[in-house]
Symmetry: C2
Subunit: 156 residues, 2 copies
Amino acid sequence: MAAPKDPRPCSIADTLALVGEKYSLLVLREVCLGNGRFDQLVRNIGAPRDVLATRLRRLVEADILTKRLYSERPQRFEYRPTPAGLELEPVLLTLMAWGDRHIRQDDDRPMVVEHSCHHELIPVVTCAACGEAVSHEDLTARPQSPGWTVTGRTAA
Amino acid sequence: MAAPKDPRPCSIADTLALVGEKYSLLVLREVCLGNGRFDQLVRNIGAPRDVLATRLRRLVEADILTKRLYSERPQRFEYRPTPAGLELEPVLLTLMAWGDRHIRQDDDRPMVVEHSCHHELIPVVTCAACGEAVSHEDLTARPQSPGWTVTGRTAA
DNA sequence: ACCGGTGAGTAGGAAATCCAAACTCACCAT
DNA sequence: ATGGTGAGTTTGGATTTCCTACTCACCGGT
């Protein structure tokens, strides 16, 4: 799992090293929906139990999930998202919206999320500073470390 | 890659089936930065060449990338994002911001993205209808198909 | 006490993937 | 002729994943 060659330093790569393995983001989906028990996860995700156990260990270790005891006598645990885990929910929402748009262009979406404003949630990524929706042409990459060669719109 | 058991229908899972394999999103990162040539990708990502070739084929097939000829006589290709591919850029930005916040709490970010408003881009996911930043407590999941049991805040 | 059921995993070997390095093929430069 | 580059493919071995079955602890009914 270490560097095969010398990939460049990148927070995207580092984040994916934590949550980019198969099923990890689906675990987060379930846990955000409140389905945090092992057998629920197995059923809803369809992952092998051993892989799931491994993912859960890593996600707890990365402080994305916490393991909560919900029954003392037969020790039973439930996984819940930490604040850091909840901050990944926007990633899930954006992925879901993309799939809804590009994979099922018909209206057979398997789930709809409603916002507290009583409209269906259509997530839009905006710039915190100006509030505008972000589009590719408005972005300029500014590498902070050497090794980042960018051929496109790059500031000096 | 088919259903191992009966995972529930989900656009997150379907999208991850396209871009969730190892390196796929890093390929998209490079391509969005303008580094679309094979050897650049190998160097910048650090992936084995055969795996990269497989990923590129799948991403082209999924209409996330296109293969463009940039030199006739020695046939040379370059990969570029399609409109659908560009719509995944917000996912990358959100992952990057998460990593910057939670993995490197210090200020040694490897890259900063600047928005056309001349401020550093801090991506925020908002609701298209009301414009508010999305937070977990404001969301209600509304399953559209059977098989979705949600224990948390679910509308009837 | 016994039987079946549930929840949370572990064990084991087959199947699929991944990895690194070497190789190909087509072209250009010296 | 030799060397170099770009875009991959091949090869063979190391890792992971997958899936079924098993364990262990407990509970509920009879």
